[in-house]
Symmetry: C2
Subunit: 306 residues, 2 copies
Amino acid sequence: MSVLVVGSIAIDAVKTPVEEHSDLLGGSACYGALAASFFSPVRLVGIVGDDFPESEFEFWRSRKIDSEGVQRANGKTFRWSGEYSWDLNTRETRSIALNVFENFKPVLPEAYRETEFVLLANIAPSLQAHVLDQMKRPRFVVADTMDLWIESARADLDALLQRVDLLILNDSEAREMTKETSLIKAGRRIRKMGPQYVAIKKGEHGALLFGEGDQFFSCGAYPLEDIHDPTGAGDTFAGGMAGYLAGTVKTVHFNDLRKAMIYGSVLASFCVEAFSLERLRKLTMEEITRRYETFKLMSQFEVPVE
Amino acid sequence: MSVLVVGSIAIDAVKTPVEEHSDLLGGSACYGALAASFFSPVRLVGIVGDDFPESEFEFWRSRKIDSEGVQRANGKTFRWSGEYSWDLNTRETRSIALNVFENFKPVLPEAYRETEFVLLANIAPSLQAHVLDQMKRPRFVVADTMDLWIESARADLDALLQRVDLLILNDSEAREMTKETSLIKAGRRIRKMGPQYVAIKKGEHGALLFGEGDQFFSCGAYPLEDIHDPTGAGDTFAGGMAGYLAGTVKTVHFNDLRKAMIYGSVLASFCVEAFSLERLRKLTMEEITRRYETFKLMSQFEVPVE
């Protein structure tokens, strides 16, 4: 089945302690859609300006990413520029220019409205809700969010949570949202705010998944020695999860979400190996499967004697 | 087989944001020995003063913890007092009185010298080495250490690492020791300093295990909502690992260390549920096994359909 992905489409400039690049394709929808496309057809919703490279539309076509829902507006594409700290664990936004994104109102093409799986990648919760308003009973809704919306659009976010099946957020955001220091308490508390499932991303420490009652899954991060650019890792994680679910299961159970979380982690581990979408563009399903199997072995408590 | 445990024996005072207790039994050897005793007989080495409760020697006897190697000296037992931050993630030492520990020179009873498994619980690396000097070819040596020794006794520690099979330390210590920000790089680097295996403890984020080449194992922490007293969790983790190995395997392989690390994590998760050794004193093997199985299920990528 297809997955509808809505979010930002951006042109980024990124500075790490080692390298600096500009005019990079980015945005939560681009990372999410490309990650999801390894597992299922994607229907993309977003907005670009007249400076956006036409070649990207061709690339999407080649990857079964339907871009009928991508609006083209006069003006410049949304631009973001950020700089990472020495250990790549924190970043500062150097500049943001909303440009055509400022007046973005997602409009779903008729063919999109019955999509059964949805990824509301990281954008304002009011826009995420506006997408759901146009849909006919989606089967499973995944939403990503960030500190900005927890701080500045809490009422919108709280309303959205009633309509979300799986909420994805990072550890500091989960703590901020609940005022709990324990991530275990935070995850369980967020479930009570609406979503049936909650995934907490912990960067180098992996991720936690919470379901009904004592349903709980925990995984580490795939061990990488060198990280080139963390940009988009969270969006890729969400895209991998949503894409895997859409492409693989009819009714989502907790055990499907475990595998989805691992595929999300695997995709994110590839994402950070290069700037922008470069590693994901060249990635093959065979590489994904191999890393999934290695990762599984690295996390197994008991291994049959060789 | 037995495991020899050497370390500090202390009387602690602990303050958390919620509770405060004094005259608590503590010290790395007490936590390590009790944790190890669930899996194998223990030979304890340490020193106590004349204020040390006689009842503890009876308790040890009841748990197959041989205390022939515990010296009794005139004066007071080593005392430590600490206070935890609001989120229990950091602590400050409020006071330390070395007392009889100041002139401690571990002397091994004859019967101890051929013990095949050794846990050098957290004490000065020179004392840890002094214990090894008295032993006849131990089969497997586990050592725990801390920031204090990395900062103040680095040469002793570096020399000790040549004689250690498994080094256990926490994430900030691994980074401090190697000046690497990536824990993956840090773990691999420490292996090159001597120990065949390295375990990095990450508190609420679990632990990492490094072996030869690309041997790697990662696990989360057992999910606890309420932590009462983190004191001794690291010592308990080390004791659980060493005890499991001594009691279960003849020749240690990487896959044994996976299970050992999980048993260490399980024991540590019980330890923090109450002050001092109180939870561990009442713990049963059945509870340990049940939590191990739950933990395994919570970490499994793929679960057979129910």
